[in-house]
């Protein structure tokens, strides 16, 4: 049942380590994303606005359609 744990050589260990590290990182990102979504409201998380460069002077006006 646990045949996959019987490593033939160092390359087998390296491949298993690659699977393991990948799954840990993906699981952490997923966990963090869920945690953040629970802690903050959708309004706050999606509140970003397109940037305005400092080249746009104070007299430049935003015209909404």
């Amino acid at each position: 049942m646990l045949d996959f744990l019987q490593f033939r050589d160092g390359w087998d260990i390296l491949q298993a380590a690659a699977w393991l590290v990948s799954l840990v990182l993906l699981a952490w990102m997923l966990w963090d994303a869920i945690r953040v979504s629970q802690q903050y409201s959708e309004d706050v998380l999606t509140s970003s606005q397109e940037g305005v460069d400092e080249l746009a002077g104070p007299n430049d006006v935003v015209h909404k359609a």
């Binding site: 033939r8 050589d9 390359w11 087998d12 390296l14 491949q15 298993a16 690659a18 699977w19 590290v21 990948s22 799954l23 990182l25 993906l26 952490w28 990102m29 997923l30 963090d32 994303a33 953040v36 979504s37 802690q39 903050y40 959708e42 706050v44 998380l45 999606t46 509140s47 970003s48 606005q49 397109e50 940037g51 305005v52 460069d53 400092e54 080249l55 746009a56 002077g57 430049d60 006006v61 935003v62 015209h63 909404k64 359609a65």
Partner: protein
């Protein structure tokens, strides 16, 4: 994270972090592209011979110089993520913006898939070269490792992501320079460069071969337009973005010429046109272990830098489309701590990994190239509309590209020529892709456009367009 609204009330908001400078823009643009110097461009040699390949390299170099100039001007005023999608949204309209956004996401995600596939395969080849039994090492765990580590970097912050990209891109770039110097001055190797002897001086298939070579010469530069995706995260968009993009383009022109020079001088053109990793093969011809290891590292780093930049760019485009509700607003979330579009990054991981696992390198790359080409075709139209709606004296630009409208006309003409070349090699895929984008456009018009915030999406501090 607090902004003032029009009536003076405070509103809490989370925006992408403005932490990048011109070097990061350079790292993003060159990082995505440089893998094309290590593999892919050489298929142009099969089509047009070595001489035809360098002619195609210059012609497509002109195409991308026009792309870089137009991008630099428009994006120096549009300090927003999304790049060409945001440009199209402001200058033309929602349907074109949706299509351009989709081209961007697919071009970068497919390129990312190809990059991580190449990385996994290089590790497998390296393992077998170091003594592993043939067939005992699988590329798949390393494909997943690459995408998860790079996605993790992107998730945790853009500054570290592009600092890493700067380092590994610089190493990859200098590996090309060192290889050229080694051959040119006989350091580490006594093998001479022999362009004449290897069939450099002729066009085996004439000018038709040069035309056919155009589709693969795109590999030399594909992705430099991705610098625009950093617009919302650079400290001074109007200055940093044109500087990073134009220096990136100059770097690529140098890298492309040097790559061709060293490969065409060491490998017969008949072999070069079919090689998987021509720069690595050129290092093998030197007989120097140092150069072989250096070019293997350069190839691996270039693939990782490209995948890293692609995750960054695809997620910004997806995020921007979500923010304007061209896609579900769910994807417009910014991480409150890391200030990255974390949901867009996460969402695209399984798509890239699935294509990376599939091993379908040629169709994946073709999808990426064709999506990029479709995007370039819309850029001259956007540029004409941008200059006519907002003439030079109406809004401040960080960069004004010279000789307008010549670059736009040249770009449109060269795109048309490249379509002919693509049709010669990948006619069915080209038509299939156009059908795909036509179907998604119909979906957008009938099922998605009703959710778009038509007025709210125009947030630039610009005056009303001329004639409105």
């Amino acid at each position: 994270m607090t902004d003032m609204t029009a009536n003076g009330a405070q509103k809490s908001s989370i925006n992408l972090a403005k932490v990048l400078g011109p070097t990061h823009v350079w790292a993003l643009g060159v990082g995505i592209v440089l893998v094309g110097e290590f593999m892919g461009w050489n298929f142009s040699v099969e089509k047009g011979g070595a001489l035809g390949s360098i002619i195609a390299c210059w012609i497509i170099g002109l195409l991308y110089t026009c792309v870089a100039m137009i991008d630099s001007e428009v994006t120096s005023t549009v300090a927003a993520a999304g790049g060409q999608y945001t440009q199209a949204k402001h200058t033309t309209g929602p349907l074109m913006a949706f299509n351009v956004g989709l081209y961007l996401v697919l071009a970068y995600t497919m390129l990312e898939a190809a990059d991580i596939f190449v990385f996994g395969d290089l590790v497998r080849i390296g393992a077998e070269a170091l003594g592993a039994v043939e067939g005992s090492v699988s590329a798949q765990p390393f494909v997943l490792l690459a995408v998860s580590v790079l996605a993790f970097l992107n998730y945790r912050g853009v500054l570290m992501t592009l600092n890493v990209n700067f380092l590994i891109t610089a190493v990859a770039f200098f590996s090309i320079i060192i290889l050229v110097i080694a051959y040119q001055f006989g350091i580490f190797t006594s093998e001479p460069l022999q362009h004449e002897g290897l069939g450099m001086g002729s066009l085996p298939y004439g000018w038709m071969g040069v035309l056919a070579a155009l589709q693969f010469a795109i590999w030399y530069y594909l992705g430099i337009e991705g610098t625009c995706q950093a617009a919302e995260e650079v400290r001074s968009c109007g200055r940093s973005l044109p500087l990073g993009t134009m220096t990136g383009m100059i770097t690529l022109l140098i890298a492309a010429a040097l790559t061709w020079y060293v490969c065409a001088g060491t490998l017969p053109w008949e072999y070069l046109g079919t090689a998987l990793a021509p720069l690595y093969d050129a290092s093998l011809m030197s007989g120097s272990k140092f150069l072989v290891v250096l070019l293997w590292v350069g190839t691996v780093f270039s693939a990782l830098a490209s995948a890293n930049g692609c995750i960054n760019d695809a997620s910004r485009a997806w995020f921007s489309m979500g923010r304007d509700r061209y896609l579900p607003e769910f994807f417009a979330a910014v991480h409150p701590k890391y200030r990255t579009p974390y949901r867009a990054i996460l969402f695209l991981i399984p798509i890239a990994a699935a294509f990376g696992f599939s091993g379908l390198l040629a169709p994946t790359i073709t999808f990426s190239i064709l999506s990029g080409l479709l995007g370039y075709t819309f850029m001259p139209i956007n540029m004409f509309r941008f200059r006519s709606k907002w003439p030079l004296d109406t809004i401040k630009r960080g960069y004004i590209h010279p000789f307008h409208p010549i670059p736009s006309i040249v770009l449109l003409t060269l795109c048309a020529a490249t379509y002919v070349a693509v049709y010669l090699g990948f006619g069915t895929q080209l038509l299939a892709m156009m059908v795909f984008y036509a179907v998604t456009s119909i979906w957008f018009v009938f099922f998605r456009y009703k959710y778009v915030r038509r007025g709210d999406q125009f947030t630039m501090a610009w005056p009303r367009p001329k004639g409105y």
